[in-house]
């Protein structure tokens, strides 16, 4: 690189162009837009930090933050351990491991919109809905699923966990394959049970991967959009309005739409919060990461 002159730049150019056009261009543009008011027809007007002030004064913002945190907590409690358990179980299976991996991954292959439309049928709140029929057979319900402020968010987490678990399972399976088998053999010779093997061999060896999937999950849940957008539109009564849905609403929805300034301002604030969180997280966990 040091003596290459212009040659490295020429080689770099295609990547820089593509990256600049599709990644950095929009990022820079959104920074610019966050201090502007525009109707996309006449020239944009500079408004300083007005957009940020407007967003921070919006009572819906705090509802959206609360909802997003609620989604993140539910997704952590249910969505985080389940793939790990599934991966460990699949790893323990001696035969047809490929089949089980494929089955676990299948939901990821289903296009998200199709999956949501399918689950909408499952979530039908009438007594004849799919889930309500199943639960009715064991004397539960009918539940109101998406049609109740209390059950709407857990319903979204249920679908999101089903939809996303497959990818994480595959990551864990790959990591599990890298655990030296002699460690398990040694543990078995020492008479360790499956539980102790998982606790003393599997988990310590997966620590690095677990830390990464944890932070990815937090970032993913902070940006949850698809489920509330397609299932409920943020309802009932804003019970599932998340931060990203609010950004979308600022920019595109009927009621608040066209406010690109507020949308980009909130996007930048979200990005800043996530960046700070990630930095803190890696700093705090550096000492107990495997690397």
């Amino acid at each position: 690189m040091r003596h290459g002159g212009l040659a490295p730049l020429v080689f770099l150019l295609p990547m820089v162009l593509v990256f600049g056009l599709f990644s950095w261009g929009p990022i820079v543009q959104s920074v610019v837009m966050s201090v502007q008011r525009t109707n996309m027809v006449t020239g944009a007007e500079f408004v300083g930090l007005d957009n940020f002030a407007q967003v921070l004064a919006d009572p819906l913002l705090w509802t959206a933050v609360r909802n997003t945190l609620w989604f993140a907590v539910l997704a952590l409690v249910f969505g985080y351990p389940i793939p790990l358990v599934v991966a460990v179980l699949i790893n323990e299976v001696r035969r047809r491991r490929g089949l089980f991996s494929a089955l676990a991954y299948l939901p990821v292959v289903v296009p998200p919109v199709v999956a949501v439309l399918l689950w909408k049928f499952f979530f039908d709140a009438g007594p004849n809905g799919v889930f309500n029929t199943l639960l009715g057979a064991v004397g539960i319900g009918p539940l109101r699923w998406l049609q109740d402020a209390d059950t709407a968010m857990p319903s979204l987490v249920l679908e999101a966990t089903w939809a996303a678990a497959g990818s994480t399972v595959i990551i864990y399976l790959a990591a599990l394959a890298a655990v030296p088998p002699e460690l398990y053999e040694a543990a078995e010779i020492d008479g360790a049970s499956i539980r102790r093997k998982v606790w003393h061999v599997t988990l310590p060896n997966l620590r690095g991967v677990l830390l990464v999937t944890f932070i990815l999950q937090i970032i993913g849940t902070a940006q949850v959009f698809l489920e509330p957008f397609l299932f409920t539109g943020g309802g009932p009564a804003n019970a599932t309005t998340t931060v990203l849905l609010l950004i979308y609403d600022y920019a595109f929805a009927d009621s608040l739409g066209g406010d690109y300034g507020a949308a980009t301002a909130l996007s930048l604030m979200l990005a800043a919060v996530l960046a700070v969180f990630s930095a803190l997280y890696f700093r705090l966990t550096r000492s107990w990461s495997t690397s």
Binding site: L17, M40, V41, Q147, A237, D254
Partner: protein, 459 residues
């Protein structure tokens, strides 16, 4: 990477990004697209997802127009108005030159100058002075200039499924005429057919739209305007009464089914599929239900909205505006208004055009004769109805509970300030009432009132 080149590289990349970012923003002003043959190209919207018959009918009208306007090249483009994609499509230059928008969105577009000012061209139309005044305001800027052409108008109606009425033991020729009757019929339908007796839209601002409709029907208004000052009037006895009725149907009668997140498209789907007994929507909805949602015409019935016995009670009106993209040049705008005149307006004012339009629609199996309110004066409206009488193919008798009484009801325009935003606030209110058994209606309305007032004060 410690070489001095690093700074240069970084600078290059940053410059590049900024240049690219700058490419995205576009200046104002429009231009004309002129073909090699010298004709000005005008892209015009045709609803997305129409049946082939409707597409054929549209294309035939395009050919007829081009035959008599040799300097214009009309290019149909599938486009259905959506507030969500509008601004991005406008910025990206993919919006057609001529398209239609609901009255509700027209005012915001004019305020934000996101449609072209075509007032000069519209003023030259022979019928420019005879627009129905309550309808014309929907397309006017505050200074009274006509930026958009109203092409259709309607009052809200009570749509009902005749087959479900019959199955429930109700007389489909005598739909409910009071709100207690609506409630009783909804209950009977739910009990005897297992389907939803009465459903209501709640999402994407349609919740506010329909709640405002009920409020008007109970004699209320959602805003009052004195001079420049607009006051929100959501926390009123009329609005409370409307919400209490909805709450009673939902929680006491359990006649409102299990979906409380309907928007316009989804409620039309479920109604057309026979899952809903009654709902409130625009009186001219027949076309959408039949051509886009495949409803069986025999199932369809519509009645005027019940109004309480109060001189203030009225029917919320709405309609459609034809508008022109702000990215067009002078020649395109002039041709665009001629297209609007030909395609949307001539059938309302000119006998030959009306007959041609109706015949084309009828021959391609499209509905002719769905209920509408006059866009121009009543005499022109009645005359136009007469011209196309022989082509009417909608089930006229089934529309009678609406058409026989629609002119007797006072038509009230939608709220004019921050219309969609206030509807959005009311969405939350009606969703809460429908999903929370313990919803505190007075508290909800007090909260909505202060939110709406804050919005109106911001202007």
């Amino acid at each position: 990477m410690k070489s001095p080149h690093r700074t240069a590289r970084l600078a290059l990349v940053l410059c590049l990004s900024l240049t690219l970012a700058a490419c995205g923003s576009d200046g104002a002003g429009g231009s004309d697209a002129v073909g090699e043959d010298g004709r000005v190209v005008v892209t015009v919207a045709i609803d997305a997802g129409l049946e082939q018959g409707a597409v054929d009918a549209f294309n035939e009208r395009v050919e007829q127009f081009e035959a008599s306007h040799s300097d214009v090249d009309i290019q149909p483009q599938e486009y259905t108005w959506s507030a969500a994609t509008f601004t991005s499509q406008l910025a990206g230059g993919t919006i057609p030159d001529v398209f239609t928008v609901p009255f509700t969105d027209g005012r915001g577009l004019i305020e934000r100058e996101q449609i072209a000012d075509i007032a000069d061209q519209v003023d030259r139309l022979p019928y420019a002075d005879s627009f129905n005044p309550t309808v014309a305001t929907a397309g006017q800027a505050p200074d009274g200039r006509q930026w958009a052409v109203p092409i259709a108008a309607y009052g809200q109606g009570l749509h009902y499924n005749r087959t479900l009425f019959t199955q429930a033991g109700l007389d489909p020729d005598r739909p409910p005429t009071t709100w207690p009757q609506v409630r009783a019929a909804a209950r009977q339908i739910a009990e005897r057919t297992g389907q939803t007796g009465y459903a209501q839209m709640t999402s994407d601002n349609t919740g506010g739209w329909i709640l405002t409709t009920l409020d008007y029907a109970f004699g209320g208004r959602t805003e009052s305007i004195r001079g420049e000052k607009a006051t929100a009037t959501l926390d009123t006895p009329e609005m409370t009464e409307a919400l209490e009725l909805v709450a009673a149907m939902r929680w006491e009668d359990e006649s409102m089914g299990a979906n409380f997140l309907y928007d316009w498209a989804t409620i039309n789907q479920d109604f057309a599929a026979g899952r809903i007994g009654m709902y409130v929507s625009g009186g001219g909805n027949y076309g959408n239900l039949v051509t886009q949602n495949a409803m069986r015409p025999a199932d369809y019935g519509v009645a005027v909205l019940p109004l309480v016995d109060d001189p203030e009670a009225g029917v919320l009106g709405g309609g459609t505006l034809a508008v022109v993209s702000p990215k067009t040049g002078e020649r395109t705008r002039e041709a665009a208004v001629r297209w609007i005149d030909f395609y949307y307006m001539a059938k309302l004012t000119d006998k030959d055009a009306a007959v041609l339009d109706a015949r084309t629609l009828a021959e391609t199996g499209q509905p002719v004769g769905a209920p509408q309110l006059p866009v121009l004066d009543r005499a022109t409206f009645d005359a136009a109805r007469g011209w196309v009488k022989e082509y009417v193919n909608v089930p006229v008798d089934q529309l009678r509970p609406y058409t026989d009484a629609m002119f007797d009801q006072p038509l009230v325009t939608e709220p004019t300030r921050s219309t969609q935003e206030v509807y959005g606030i009311l969405d939350t209110v009606v969703q809460t009432v429908l999903t929370d058994r313990d919803a505190d209606i007075p508290a909800l309305l007090a909260d909505a009132q202060s939110q709406a007032q804050a919005l109106l004060d911001r202007g």
